[in-house]
Amino acid sequence: MADIAYQEGNYFLALEKYQKVEIRDMHSCELKYKIAKCYLKSPFKVKEALPYLKYLIQNDCDDVAVDYLYFYAHVLQLQHNYIEAINYYNEYLENETTLKKEFDDVELKIKQCENGIKLGSIQSSSSETTAIMDIPINTSYDESAPIISKRDNFIVFSSKRQVDSYNYVYGDQYAFLPKDLESADRDIYLSYRKGVQFSHPYPQFDGDYREIYPLYVEDGSYMLLYIEYPSDAIDKGNIYETKVKKGRWQKPKKLNSKINSNHTEKGAIIANNGTTIYFSSNRPGGQGGFDLYKSIRVGKDDWSKPINLGPTINGPNDEVFPYVHNDNKTLYYSTNGILSMGGFDIVKSTKEGANWSRPKNLGAHVNSPFNEMQFSQIPSKRYSYFTSDRQDQQSVGGKDIYAIFKPVHKMKRAIVTGKIKVLKNGQSLPITLLVKDNSNITYKKYVYDPSPDVGKFFMILPPSKNYSIIIKYNDSELYTLNIDLPKDTYRYQLDKEFELKEIEVFNKVVGYDVIPNETRFEVTTFDELKNQNQEEVTDARYDALLMLMEMIVDRTDKDGLANLNDLDDPIKDISLPNTSNTSNSPDPYYTPLLDLIEKAFNEADPSLLTSLDSVRGDQGDKVVKVPSLNLKQNVIVEERYYFPEKEFDISTENKLSLNELSTFLKERDNIVLDVVWFSSEDENKTLSSVDQLNEMRMNSILNYLAAKGVSRWKYHIKNKTIKTSQDNACILLSVRIK
C-alpha cells in the first residue's frame, strides 16, 4: 500500500506507512532506501534522507539499487558539502554493478560541485544581500515567478496558497503537507510596496488552472503569463497575454504558434520597447534541452520566426526564464548546465556589440545547489527578485521568493545648492556655471545653472575635492569661486550675489566691473547629523535626494537620467576619490589650503591667514572685458593717437580723448596702461630723427596724463618697431586688465 502511495506521488502517506513498518523491521535496506527516496521528494526536509542513505553505505547494502550513492552525494551537495559530494559521485561512477545505473549526469554534477567550491570561496565584491521575502508574500505553499514593476511599486507572483485561508505557515513539523492542508488553488497575486515591506497580496485571476505564473508585466496594464489548464497535457501549458480593462484583467489570449510550439515553453519577456520577445523552448533544432530564443514583433499580433540565441548562451542542458533588463544590454536567465553549482542557477550575460558575452554565475550570495530561477529586477538594479526551492533556515517552504538588495552607497555625493545671482541695473542676468575640480576635470552632468529669476542653482559633486565654479555671462568669465567640499559633506549651501556695471570708454562698452557682495556658505556633514542622533534622518534625506535627482534629471537631462544608476556604482564612477588608492600621492583635497598658508608666509600677508574661514579666491572686485572686442588678451581699450608731420603737440581732439582716458585710469586700480611708441629698425640701435620725434610725442602724452593726475605706476612704456604704415607718427595707448 505504501508502494502504491509512492507510485501515485502521495509521499506523505507513503512515508507515514514506511516509517510504521520500519519500527518492526529496523534493519531492512530496502525500507531505508524507500524512506530515503520519499524524503528526497520533500519540499521541506530533503536532508532527512541523509541518515537512511548513510545506513545503506555503511552496511554495503547490495539488495537495493546502487543509486543510493548518487542520492547521498546529491544531498551532500545540497548541504554545500561539495568535497564529500564529489567523493561519493566518484564512488558511484566507479562502482561495478550489474544493476543499471539510473543517472548519467554524474560528471556534470561533479563540475557543479567544483563551481560550488569556487563560487563559495569568492568574496562578493558588491555589498548585495539576499533575503527571503516576508509573510504574506511567502507561505508554506509554493510561491514563484516574482515580477517586479519597473517603478518598484508593486510585485506580481504566483502562489499555490489556499485562496480563502490565512493560515500560511505550519512550522517545520512536516516533511510533506498533510492532505487537509493541501491546496488545489493556483493564482497570480499582486502586492503593492509599502515602504520596505509589501502589502497584503490579492489574487488577480479567478479560474481553474493546473499552473499559472506571470512572466512579464508592463505598467500594471499588460501581462505575459504562463497558463496550464486542466485540459492541457501535463507540463504543456502555453504563453498568454492579457490587458487591464476597467480595472480587471481581460481573459488571457494565447500567443500564436511562432511562440507557442507543440513543445514546451518556459519563460518569456518582452524587451526593447515592446519590439522583441525572448523566451525559452525545448523545440527541436536548438543546442539541447530548453534554449533561449528571440523573436521580433511583426505588425500588431505577429512575431518573426524565432532565432536561437546561439551556443554562447545555450548549451546541451536547459536555459530557461530569460529576463532582459531595461537597458536592453543585460540578460539574466537560469541554467542547470556547467555554470551552475547545482540545480538551476541564475546567470548573467551582457551585450557586447551584436553578441552576448559569456554568461557568469551571479554568485553564492544569490544561487544555491537548489533551483534558482525567474529573476526580475527594477531599472535602478537596487532590488532584484527570484524564486528558489532551497531548504535552509530562512526558507518558509516549497518554493519561496527572495529579494536581492543592492545598497545605495551613501556619502558619495554632496548636494551643492544655493543662489548665485548677477544683477545689472537691478535686473538678474542669465548666467551659466562651469565647474572644474583641482585636476581640471570639468563637471557637466548634474550641474544645473542658476535659474534666471531667483538664481537658484543645483549640482551634485563628489566630496573630498576642491572645485572652481566659474560664473559666465555671454561667454565672459565673470568670476571664479573656489569651494572645498569636506569628506562626508551632504550639503553645501552657497549664496553669492554680484553687481555688474558696464565700463564705458569712448562711448562704447568695453568691459564690466564685477562687484561681489559677501559670500554666505554653510557645510553640513553626516558627522553632525550623527551627533544629533539623526542617522535615520540622513537615510531618509538621501532617499529624498535620489528621488529629487531623478526628477531634475528627468525634466532636463535625459542622458543624466540614463546614467543615474552609475552614481550608485563605485566601479562605474570614475570621478570618485579612489579610497583603495595606494599610490604615493598626497590627498589633493588639502593642497589648496596648504598652498594658501604657504603663500601667506611667503608674501608676509597675515590677512590670508585670518581669512582662512572664508571662501578661497573671494578676492573682491574684478574687471572683465567684453568678449566680442577684437583685441588681444586682457586688453579692453586700444587707441592710436596720430600727430601731424614734424609736430609733437597733442591736438584738441586727442586731448579730449586723453581726458576721458585719464578719468577712467584714475578710478581703477585693477587696470594698467601700456604706452607704445614706434621706431624704425636700426642695427646700430641709434635713433633716427623720426624716432626721436616719436619719443617726444610719447613724452607729450605722458606729460599730459601726469598733468591730469595719472600716477606713474599706472603705465608701462614699450617701444616697438614700425611694422605697418599705421604705426607711423602714432602713439598707441592700450588699457589692459591687470
Binding site: 511599486n153 508593486f154 499582486l190 503593492y192 490579492y202 489574487p203 488577480q204 505598467d219 500594471g220 496594464s221 487591464v244 480595472g247 480587471r248 569651494i483 572645498d484 569636506p486 556658505f521 554653510e522 557645510v523 553640513t524 553632525e528 547629523l529 544629533q532 539623526q534 534622518v537 531618509a540 534625506r541 529624498a544 528621488m547 529629487l548 526628477m551 604615493n584 600621492s585 598626497p586 590627498d587 583635497y589 588639502y590 589650503l593 596648504l594 598658508i597 604657504e598 601667506a600 608666509f601 611667503n602 608676509a604 597675515p606 591667514l609 585670518t610 581669512s611 582662512l612 574661514d613 572664508s614 571662501v615 578661497r616
Partner: protein, 190 residues
C-alpha cells in the same frame, strides 16, 4: 478582492519630496576648512620654516610630530600629512599623554586641557635636556610662550612666538615665521 493599479501623481511626489527637504533642512554654519584642518595645515607650514640641526634626525630621516593630550585632529592630520614631505622628510605622527610616549618627536603639539602648572612642568621636561631640538606648539594655551613654549596658536588664525626658546632648542626660525607672528616674546622665562 481585486485591486486596480494606480499611480502617484507627479505633483503629489513633488509635494512629498519638498516636505522631506523642508523638514530635514539642518542649518549648521561652517567654515570652508574647519578649525583643526587649518591648524594642521599651519603645523605643516611651520615645519617648513623651521630648521632643525642635522643631528636631530635619525636614520629614517622622518619628521616626527607628537600630539600630547586628547587628539583634536581626528584623522585629518593623518590624511593631510600622508605622502607629504617637509624639506625631503616624511611625516610620522605619534600620539600620547606623556612626554615619554612622544620621545623622539621633533614637534610636540600640546592640546588644550592642561593646567598652567602641567604646561610648565611638561615644557621643562621637554627642554631639560640640552639637545631636545623640539618645536613646541600650543593649541591656544594661555601663557604658553611665556612659560617657555615656542609657538602658540591664537584664535584669530595667527600665533605668538618665543624666539629665545627656539634658540635654546637650537632651532633656526625663518624670518617668514617672524613676519606673521602676532606677538614675539623676546625673553627667557627663566
Amino acid at each position: 478582492m481585486k485591486k486596480h493599479f494606480q499611480d502617484i501623481s507627479f505633483k503629489k511626489l513633488l509635494l512629498i519630496i519638498s516636505g522631506f527637504i523642508f523638514l530635514l533642512s539642518i542649518e549648521n554654519a561652517h567654515a570652508q576648512f574647519d578649525e583643526y584642518e587649518r591648524k594642521a595645515a599651519m603645523v605643516n607650514t611651520f615645519a617648513k620654516f623651521v630648521n632643525w640641526p642635522t643631528k636631530a634626525f635619525k636614520e629614517n630621516n622622518k619628521l616626527v610630530l607628537g600630539i600630547l593630550g586628547d587628539d583634536p585632529f581626528g584623522d585629518v592630520i593623518d590624511n593631510m600629512f600622508k605622502n607629504r614631505y617637509v624639506n625631503g622628510r616624511q611625516w610620522e605622527i605619534r600620539r600620547g599623554n606623556s612626554i615619554k610616549d612622544l620621545k623622539g618627536s621633533h614637534i610636540v603639539f600640546m592640546t588644550q586641557g592642561f593646567s598652567n602648572d602641567e604646561i610648565k612642568s611638561l615644557l621643562s621636561e621637554i627642554y631639560e635636556k640640552n639637545n631636545s631640538f623640539v618645536l613646541t606648539i600650543g593649541d591656544n594655551i594661555p601663557n604658553f610662550c611665556k612659560n617657555g613654549g615656542i609657538i602658540n596658536l591664537t584664535p584669530n588664525g595667527l600665533y605668538t612666538l618665543n624666539i629665545v626658546s627656539a634658540n635654546k632648542a637650537q632651532l633656526t626660525i625663518d624670518v617668514k615665521l617672524l613676519n606673521l607672528a602676532s606677538d614675539i616674546i623676546p625673553y627667557d622665562p627663566d
